[in-house]
Symmetry: C2
Subunit: 158 residues, 2 copies
Amino acid sequence: MRSTALLAALLVACACARPRPPDVAAGRAALQEADRAFNRATAERRTEGWTEFFADDGAMMLPTGTITGQAAIRERMAKAFADTSFTLTWEPQQADVGAAGDLGYTLGRSEARFRDEQGRPVVRTGRYLTVWKKQPDGSWKVARDIGVQDPPQARPGP
Amino acid sequence: MRSTALLAALLVACACARPRPPDVAAGRAALQEADRAFNRATAERRTEGWTEFFADDGAMMLPTGTITGQAAIRERMAKAFADTSFTLTWEPQQADVGAAGDLGYTLGRSEARFRDEQGRPVVRTGRYLTVWKKQPDGSWKVARDIGVQDPPQARPGP
């Protein structure tokens, strides 16, 4: 009887202490949703919407250099969004998260639109890769962001 | 006495079942070392060295398009390495891994060297972001790889 009680106690303790299997599919869906919220915030609030999705030590890896930290990111993007014709939108296509649910990535297609010096509308499409890190408050924030532009399309002649 | 034995059993069971805290610093160092091994393999065995570091469903996000899977990656890189003047080297500067030690990224500086059509040496530097996923055999493989080139330097006149 005593050994039965011990065994029962062990089984209960094991069941309580065992980490639950992470729900990877749910984690991937949550991360894609975070990426869509990032896109909506940027569409609605431009520089501030973009900046607030970065972690304090997050970085943008641009062709012209890597911009690290919210203050530097805000300053850089304020220059881009100062052009009122400039919009940047994207849509995630894939996401993955680690088994602990604290690190993951999204990737997808992006579209930048603006007007050139002659006022003609320009569309530049590309693909991006964003690494996300879960913050102490449970929110996902951008740790690293990088993108490549598609090759320029052949333009119709004048 | 019986309750003491139960308590002891519970404590032992909890201690055994509790997941160990992951060693994040060691994980980061291991991932940087995997990235350096990737660089060495590519320097030594070119197309095969590059290709074997990708996961079966790994992808290269190039400006000209995303190449997915080892077979397609091998075919694409064989074209690049067919130019015997072409070398691609890199050095990781940062790495991070999730708490479960199964997903992480490296980033760093890259350098491509080749000779142009006139035989003049060309050096193109850039930065890259690589997402790694631990495989069932315990090895780290590349899940996603992307890079941006630095802006071209002003060239000395003829």
